[in-house]
Structures are given as C-alpha cells and as structure tokens.
C-alpha cells in the first residue's frame, strides 16, 4: 500500500466558475488537468494524505494585512475570499497538528498583492500567504516565519508587506526583472532600515534549469534558513519556471520542482502562478505533493522532458553562483547594513509607483517609517490613484513599542483629513482596523 512518510494536507480549490476574463491565463480551465492528474494518480487515497475543504477568510483576516481601498469587498471577488481561505484552512490544519505539512492548491494567486490594495495586479488582489501567516501569528502565537517564493515572477507584493518586518524572512528567486513582469526583485532590494537583510532577492538569468535552482537552494536559501530558525517555512509555490510556461523563459522541470520541495521541506506551500496548464501543472503538482509527503517522485516525468535539451549553459551557472555569494554577503552583513541605514535618520522615507496591470492604472506612494531602536517602527503610507482615491494608511507593527504606538495614533487621529478620502489604521498589537472618513 502507498503511504505518505510525512502526513500531508491538501486544499484543492480550482474555482471552476471564476476567471479574470474568458481567455485570461487565470481562468476556469487552469487547474482542470491538474485535478484530473491528481485524481487519476489516486493521490487522495494515499494513507497520510488528507484533503480539506477550503474555508473562507473574514474581512478581519484581510484587514490584518491589507489596506483595501475603498474597502475589502470592493477589491476582492468571492473567489479571493476562498483562495485565501484555502491557505488559512491548511495553515490551521498544520498548527492544530492534523497534518505535518500542507499544500493549498488554490486560485487566484496572491504574491503580487501589496499592503495597500487599489485593485488587481499580476493576477493578484490579496496576498494569500500573508493573510494566512498573520492569522496564524494571531491565533497560534507563532513569531518567526520564512517565505520562500519560487514563482518565476518576483513576489513584489509579499516583499512590500514584509519590507519592514525583521521577523519575516522573505527570499524570492525569480527570472531577472529586466526581462519579466513586475520588473523588480534585484539583489540590492534588501528591506527597510529596521529589517534590512530579511528581504533577499535572487534574480536568475533566463533559461536557468534544474541545476541553477538547486544551486540557489543549497548555496543561499538553506544556509540562511538554518541561521534564521523560522517557526514556520512557507513556500509561495509558483510553477511558471517550467520550460513549457507560455509567459516566462525558464527551463525548470517537474522533477526539479519536486527535488526543490523535498530539500526545502516547507511546512506550508501555497500555489502561485503557473500557466502551462496541460504540459506542466499536472506533473509539477503531482511531483510537489509526492515530495511534500516524502514519497517517491522519481517516475513523475512530463512527456516533453529532456534533461539534455534543458541543460543550462556555463555562463548561467557562473552568474547564479555570483548572485548567491552576494546574497550570502548581504545576509551576513545585515546588522551593519541596518546600523548604516539608521544612522542620523528619524524618518526613513521612500517613494513608490505601483502599476496595476490587470486594472490598468498607477498608484503613487510616499512611505514614512519612524526609525526606532525598540521595535521595527511605525509606518505610514500616503497612497493615491489619480482621479480616484487618496488615502493615508498607518501601520502599527505587531511588536510596536509604546512610543511608536503613540505616534501611530497621532498620525491616524491628528492628520488633517483635507487631502484624503480616508485615513486608515492597522493596530496590530490590539488586532484592530480603524477607518476615518471625510
């Protein structure tokens, strides 16, 4: 009889009645052949693999992470509530000890959704992983979390949410931003002054294959994880590095994804992108589930696979090794980087322009962090979309000191409403979300 070595939970939510539009890659058909393959392989009958019904997230779960403008119901569809709910279900199953590991095979994805949400970008509206993680932090008291993003696109949304959080390690490996949406994720993006070094980016040259991905894992990701000592490892498991993906230019394979998963040993994996719906997803997901469950995946081979044809060139290997070394250097030097960034700075400010490709508009942000030595610092984001909305969003972090909490409330209560449609507050220590309107 087949038996899982590691008790593994699955949430499968293919949203067979939801699409961004009829011919959009994020459409009803996306996980159809994947479900066929998983059912046909009989994975759900394996002893030690349990399927759970996807739950639904509450507005409070979303507000713990996002400032949705004008509100959550306006920027989310029903499917977003269930997709994030699926991640939450699997997170709870893991924390309740029902399973040792879990995989949420859900759509739509979420890793391009930032802290402030005006609409959809990169097929994402809300960040499934962040919503799950912040729920688990609140409900189960976990602290240190590592998110390893293996989607081919830079996980810029997750990066934005955890830019100032030293307790969340975010490592994204992805196709070089000079060649792919969203055009970010370079290795000089390493986090804010109180959290530098816990955001790490590993841009990879086009046509990187198994060898390259596994090098990144062995030389950079695993050593850093070992030092960071997370309570929970979350994998943003995008599958668009596959050699057949229509939107990207990489040469990764089903077996490669399975190898990576088997070595990374994530507690929870959440599906992100991946749009080669017939040639990649069915095989990648079977490989991933088997790897999560500690089972033999050596026979999972997609029909078009050829190790010979997909092998990466020597210059790619050299580039990747160099990038890994830079990432390790940044990690090792993170305390010094933080000291340098904090020197003589009371308020650290940055300007961002965010493009919402799905909905077709730009958001401009001016972000201000009160640099603090007691905590990661209170944050405010002045965010506006031309001819639409302007909001001021105040985030008091989970472990805020008394002084930063006070500043947060001052910003929220005393700022002149004049130019703003709304002023919003996330008070994480009190787990509260508040709104001031004209």
């Amino acid at each position: 009889m087949l038996k899982a070595k590691t008790h593994t939970g699955l949430v499968f939510f293919p949203a067979y009645d939801w699409a961004i539009s009829a011919t959009h890659p994020e459409r009803e058909e996306r996980l159809l052949y994947t479900q066929d393959q998983i059912s046909e392989e009989g994975l759900l009958d394996v002893e030690g693999i349990d399927e759970f019904k996807a739950g639904v997230v509450d507005i409070e779960d979303v507000q713990r992470v996002h400032f949705c403008v004008p509100d959550a119901r306006s920027v989310m569809t029903e499917s977003h509530f269930i997709s994030a709910g699926g991640a939450k279900t699997i997170g709870k199953a893991k924390m309740d000890g029902l399973v040792d590991r879990g995989f949420a095979l859900v759509r739509p994805p979420g890793h391009h959704a930032m802290r402030v949400v005006h609409g959809g970008r990169g097929f994402c509206n809300v960040n499934n992983e962040a919503i799950m993680i912040e729920y688990l932090r609140k409900a189960y008291g976990i602290d240190r979390v590592a998110i390893i993003d293996t989607d081919c696109h830079h996980g810029d949304g997750t990066q934005d949410i955890y830019w100032h959080d030293p307790d969340t390690l975010f490592i994204s490996m992805h196709q070089d931003g000079r060649t792919l949406f969203p055009g970010t994720g370079f290795n000089n993006e390493t986090g804010g002054p109180t959290a530098a070094g816990t955001t790490l980016n590993i841009p990879l040259p086009p046509y990187t294959s198994e060898e390259g991905f596994l090098t990144v894992l062995e030389k950079a990701v695993l050593p850093i994880l070992q030092e960071f000592k997370p309570d929970l490892i979350v994998n943003s498991a995008g599958q668009d590095n596959h050699f057949t993906d229509p939107l990207t230019n990489m040469n990764f394979s089903a077996k490669g994804y399975a190898d990576l998963t088997a070595r990374l040993k994530p507690d929870i994996a959440v599906l992100e992108g991946g749009y080669s719906i017939e040639s990649a997803l069915p095989y990648v997901n079977v490989g991933l589930i088997l790897a999560m469950a500690g089972m033999d995946y050596s026979h999972v081979v997609e029909p078009e696979y050829s190790a010979e044809r997909l092998r990466q060139g020597p210059s790619i290997t050299a580039t990747i090794e160099k990038t890994c070394q830079q990432v390790i250097d940044t990690w090792n030097d993170r305390q010094n980087i933080r000291i340098r960034m904090q020197e003589n700075v009371i308020y650290a400010e940055r300007n961002n322009t965010v493009f919402y490709d799905t909905d077709g508009f730009y958001e401009t942000q001016h972000e201000t962090l009160q640099v603090c030595r007691e905590c990661s610092g209170v944050l405010k984001i002045d965010s506006s979309v031309e001819r639409k909305m302007r909001v001021l969003a105040v985030h008091i972090p989970r472990k805020a000191c008394e002084n930063c909490r006070k500043t947060g409330y001052q910003w929220f209560e005393k700022t002149d409403m004049g130019p703003y449609d709304m002023i919003l507050l996330q008070d994480r220590p009190e787990d509260q979300y508040r709104v001031r309107k004209q």
């Binding site: 949203a15 067979y16 009645d17 392989e41 019904k53 229509p246 017939e278 029909p303």
Partner: protein
C-alpha cells in the same frame, strides 16, 4: 407481485409485496457456508402455493461476493496494467499474476508511450501457464482513451474465459481504484456466475420462471444478464437494502437519517428529500478502495449484541460482539440484556440477562436497573453521536466552485428513520434524548427485503465532449461520436441522457422508472495561445436511486397494514 430477498449475517429475509402491501414474509437462518440453501429455500417458501404468473420478478441482495472478499476466498486472477510516467503501478499490485507493460496516455487521452504488445503477449502466456482464467486490464487515463485496453483484450481474449476492461467498470478518475475495481470484478466473476446460474436452474426446475434482478451497492438493481458482466456491483448491497427499505417512509421535503440497528453494527445513511446521498468515489471493502458506485453508508460497532464492559470505572459498549445477548445464551452482557432488565424485551431468559447486567452494576457501584438504563442510554447516545459525525463528514466534503463554496447546501437532518430488530425500543429512547423527529419503519425487521423488492434499476453515464477535437465519448458505453461545430452543454446533456436511458433499459429498467439526474456538469473554455479554441464539456447523468413506479400504492398498503397491526406470516 415482487419478491425481495436480503441475505443478512444471521437471517435471510424474504418478502412478497404487491397491491395489498406486504403479502408474505419469511425469515430463515443464514448459514454462510450454505448460502445457496438459504436463497433457494427462501425463494421456494415465499412462492409456495402462489400463482407464479402473478410474480413479475425477484430482486436478490446477497452477501455472496462481499463475504468472499472479506474472507479472502477469491480465485487467482491475472492483471495487466499499462505503465507510464507517474506513480509506479507496482504500488497498486492486487495479486501475484500482476503484470506491468509499457503504454501510456496523458490526461487528455494523447498517447505518450506506445503499447508494448510483445510484453502483453508474454504476460498472457505466463498467466496461462499459471492457470489463470479471468483477467483485468487497466490503463491510466483509459477513460480518456481506451485504445490500449481494447488492444490488449484483442490480443489476449482468445486465451482466457473472461477479460474485464478498466474503462468499462467506471467513468470516474482514479487509476488505482480502477485497477482494484477490475480486479474485484474478475475475482468474484466465477463465484457470482456459478451461484446465480445454479439459482436460476433450480428455480426453472421447480417451474418458478421469473426474471431475477440483483441489488447493487448504490441501491439500484441490474438484471441477471448485466450482473454477469459487472459482478462487482453486487458487492456490499446489504446497507443499500435497508436504506431503500426506508425511502418509502421518508418525507420528500426533509432531510432524514436512516439507522439500521443490527446485532453487531448500526448502519447509517442520509436521505435528502427522499433521495439517498451517494459515496464520493465508491465502495471500500477490506483493504480495497473501488470505483463501484454506492450509497454513502457509515457503519459503527454498536448494536444489540455489542459487548458491554467496565474499565477503570467507565462503561464501554462495543465495538466488538462476542456472541448473542446473555438472554439468548451468550457469554457477555449486551444492550439487549439491558432491554430485558428494563422490561422492554421479551421471549428470552430474563434471569440470565439480569445476572449479566448485575455484574456491570457492581463494577459501577449502582443498582442493576440503573446500570441497565445507563447502558441503553449510552448506546443510544453513541449511535446519535456517530450519526452527527457522519453528517459533518458529508458537509465537509471539498467543493471546487465558488458557488458551492459560498452558497453550497449544508445538510441538517431533522428526522430519524429507524429499522432493524430492536428498532421500536431504540426509537422510543431517541425521541427522549434528542430533538429529532423519530419514526420506526413499518415491518422494521424485514424492511430491508421490502426495499430490495421495490428498488428500481439504476445506472450512470459519464460523457466527455471536446468541441475542438469535435469528439464526444462515453467510456463505459464504448461510445465515441464525431461532433458538429456548435455543440453545446444542452446537446451534451441530451446525448448523455439518451445513452443513459438506453443503458438502463438494456440493464432491466422499465421505461416508467427512468428518473434521471444530471449529477455533474462542467464546461470549460479551452484557450491555447490566448485564443479560445473550443469547449471541454464533462457531464455525468444517472438514473436516480429510488423505488419503482408501483411503490406508492404498495407503501400506502404497508402503512395501512402497520396501522392496523396486521403482520402477514
């Protein structure tokens, strides 16, 4: 009139139902080692002095194939499975003569590995040498493209008595379950065929020439001829018999839990508006998980003969049975003995029952009467707890659409229908300790046989349509048809329903009983290179498990008989 016969673990129940309701009923003891005698003598007794021409048909539910599987008394059979990428099918080995040969289809039915015909021939000759006569042939994704399975049959069928193909046994996904299902069909085939041919011949000799139907695990029937090709469907028909026996008495606008209280176990199921809930994949028996369609039934080790014991000051009931109640000469106290002490049961040795319960009472430090009450109460409460658990299991089945996830129906049964030997005593207590509206199925002790008699012929058809390839196929039906452009979901529904009706009539349904449902209808835009190229349509239709057309009249009569306290002998 119709004969219903249900072989149970201890008794075989036989009834004759007709316009006057329950015309005749018999209980004969079941001797598992002489099953044929139970069936034949049951049929002979029930028809004695009856004008055979008045009997339209007989429906039989036996434990023949079920017992053979549970007791592992199956003949050696052979399996050929095709083998490509994915989980190694060696993990799904069902028997010694199990051969993997190269050959594979992908999820869309495209050949990805050519069939190794030489390996098929080698496997066949080795099976021949081993004396194998019955073979199962299964390929991964054969329901999307059965070419390899059919080719293998072509090669090997001259060498074997019967070959079962995976894509014929079910239209559902799951390669391992398809392997198991084909294997079980091949394994029970000779037993099933021999047994029912013998029944047929013996009845013919006696001049009892009536059509024979076999009850299936989904609560439907199939005619004898069909059962020869799908003998696996007769496995685990027992729980279905009792559910079908209660359907006629369930309200058609309520959700009902059916509880069949037996000696060893209580079997439970759920009816939604009078229609039984089906199991998501198929029956599971011993270590076998199958694609054999079945009612969702749930069995707990709590019954009238469950062993009662005290451990560390706590009272435990079941899940084992060591023998009959002490009142009937058994070794250990049971809930039935508690009923004797409480004066609710008669016709047994009350003194012995009291002695058993007294021992329990002493261990608990309470009076014998108090102990009896606690045993009975706890048995009832544990049964209800299990029923609630079953309901929550059904409600937590995963769903795959936004509509079902947010607006899907959650069942919340308000009624209990109780049958089985001690039904009236239990029903009384269920009423006292719960908010359910409780009723006892009339003729509770033979209701299973009544259900068997009144069940209609059911079947299922799965149809795949691809408007890009312009092809529709129904794997179980060996149906492939070219499509015209513009084929829609409505066309697919019509095509599937037509196939279903033909199949049902072929398998013994009468045309008045074709109540059909669409149980699944999925339609996907297929987009390649950002261009819509066609639709992928999947539809499942079924003849809904239920009772035959005449049932209302018969049930009305049975209700009347039961009100008047008439019991035919």
């Amino acid at each position: 009139m119709i004969i219903g016969l249900d072989v149970g673990g201890t008794h075989t129940d036989v009834v004759l139902v007709g316009e006057n309701g329950l015309e005749r009923r018999i209980k004969v003891p079941t001797d598992t080692s002489a099953l044929f005698d139970a069936v034949f003598s049951g049929l002979e007794h029930i028809t004695r002095d009856i004008d055979i021409s008045q009997i339209s048909h007989a429906v039989l539910s036996t434990t023949l194939t079920t017992n053979a599987i549970v007791q592992d008394k199956l003949p050696a059979v052979g399996m050929i499975v095709t083998c490509g990428p994915g989980i190694d099918p060696e993990y799904f080995r069902t028997c010694e003569q199990y051969y993997r040969v190269a050959g594979a289809m992908d999820h869309s039915g495209r050949q990805i590995v050519k069939l190794d015909e030489k390996a098929v021939e080698d496997a066949a000759s080795r099976m021949r040498e081993a004396g194998i006569e019955y073979v199962g042939v299964v390929g991964k994704f054969s329901i999307r493209n059965p070419t390899h399975e059919k080719r293998i049959r072509e090669i090997i069928s001259p060498m074997f008595e019967k070959v079962f193909l995976g894509h014929n046994v079910s239209g559902n996904f799951s390669f391992p379950r398809r392997i198991t299902t084909a294997f079980l069909n091949a394994s029970v085939y000779p037993l099933h065929k021999r047994f029912f041919e013998a029944v047929r011949q013996s009845l013919d000799k006696k001049g009892i020439q009536i059509p024979i139907y076999i009850l299936k695990a989904d609560g439907g029937t199939m005619d004898f001829e069909t059962s020869i090709d799908f003998p696996g469907q007769s496995i685990l028909s027992g729980p279905a018999a009792s559910v079908m026996g209660s359907i006629g008495f369930a309200a058609d606008d309520q959700e009902t839990i059916v509880l069949d209280i037996g000696g060893t176990t209580t079997d439970m199921a759920v009816l939604i508006n009078g229609v039984p809930v089906l199991a998501p994949y198929g029956i599971e028996i011993a270590e076998h998980k199958t694609l054999i369609r079945a009612l969702h039934s749930y069995s707990v080790g709590l019954g009238g003969d469950s062993t009662v014991r005290v451990e560390h000051g706590h009272l435990f009931i079941g899940p084992d049975r060591t023998g009959p109640a002490m009142a009937y000469g058994g070794p250990e106290p049971t809930p039935t003995d508690a009923l004797f002490v409480l004066g609710k049961a008669q016709n047994g040795d009350r003194e012995k029952a009291e002695k058993g319960i007294e021992a329990i009472a002493q261990l608990l430090g309470i009076s014998t009467a108090e102990a009896a009450r606690r045993i009975f109460d706890q048995t009832c409460r544990e049964i209800l707890d299990s029923a609630r658990q079953m309901v929550s299991l059904i409600n937590s089945r995963p769903v795959y659409t936004v509509r079902e996830a947010l607006h899907g129906h959650r069942i919340k049964p308000t009624r209990l229908l109780v049958l089985g030997g001690p039904a009236p005593m239990f029903a009384e207590n269920f009423t006292a300790i719960s908010d359910y509206q409780v009723s006892v199925v009339p003729h509770w002790d033979v209701a299973n046989a009544v259900g068997t008699a009144l069940s209609r012929t059911t079947c299922e058809v799965t149809l795949f349509a691809d408007t890009y390839k312009l092809e529709a196929s129904a794997p179980e039906e060996m149906f492939v048809q070219a499509l015209k452009p513009g084929f829609t979901m409505a066309d697919a529904t019509e095509m599937a329903t037509e196939l279903l009706e033909k199949k049902a009539l072929r398998e013994g349904a009468s045309s008045g009983d074709l109540v059909t449902d669409v149980t699944e209808a999925l339609e996907f835009n297929m987009v390649r290179d950002f261009r819509m190229i066609g639709k992928n349509i999947r539809i499942k239709v079924q003849v809904r498990p239920g009772l035959i057309g005449q049932y209302e009249k018969i049930i009305a009569q049975i209700k009347k008989q039961s009100r008047n306290g008439e019991t035919p002998c």
